[in-house]
Amino acid sequence: MKWVLVTLMVVATVLSDLLQSYEMKRAGEQSVGARGLLRLLAMIAQRKFLILAILCMAVSFFSFMALVQTQPLSFAVPASAASFILETVLAKFVLKEKVGLKRAAGALIVLAGVVLLE
């Protein structure tokens, strides 16, 4: 069950990041002033991918709450780093980003670490 929760948390986190990144790039540059924030809120309400991103964020946080309830903190927090692995794989194969040797090696080291948490 704990790996189901870890997977749910990681997939929801990465999906939320991807959806936010996709929609915010389409929306163009945003400002952080009072009017900018109001415009940002109005934009969130109009863009379904951003609403979906917020829902994913909620799923991720609730999964983390369930994980810390049933598993040791020393497992739950380090296990959340598994998002680095999925992000790197998606960056390479879905977003077609250039993944350097350092990033690939880092992701593999994280993977080895997560396996050792068991």
Binding site: V68, K102, G106, G113
Partner: protein, 130 residues
């Protein structure tokens, strides 16, 4: 205008504050959740759980940590902030052992340290790809 030295001091103070808030937030959340009945798959149970003082304190600390991180990002580069804050994984394991009396095996310590190194490596590679 702030001198480089005072800016440096401010950056490290905000960095320490962020790491502390995140650690305390996670700890309080874990402590509160462990003392509640299992929430299962109902999202409403999690919203109800936030009424517990420890869970609420944890959630508020994590929100303040997020805001502190934004301040930190205005003071320092992401390629500095992300690798340094990866130390949070090791701190969480340490607090789990010392405060929550969890059994942390040598294998789990090794895994946590590898995660810290790997996360620092991944996040120190820069954020721009184009």
């Amino acid at each position: 205008m702030a001198s480089p030295r005072s800016l440096h001091l401010r950056t490290y103070s905000v960095l320490l504050l962020f790491i502390a808030l995140k650690a305390i937030g996670n700890l309080s959340l874990a402590w509160g959740m462990k003392h509640l009945p299992e929430a299962g798959a109902n999202p409403l149970s999690y919203i109800r759980a936030m009424l517990d003082p420890f869970v609420a304190f944890g959630v508020i600390s994590l929100i303040v940590a997020l805001l502190t991180r934004m301040v930190l990002l205005s003071l320092a580069d992401l390629s500095f902030v992300l690798p340094v804050t990866a130390v949070g994984y090791v701190i969480a394991a340490f607090l789990g052992k010392v405060v929550l009396h969890e059994v942390v095996t040598n294998q789990r310590w090794a895994g946590t340290v590898l995660i810290f190194i790997g996360a620092a490596l991944v996040s120190s590679t820069g954020e721009k790809s184009k």
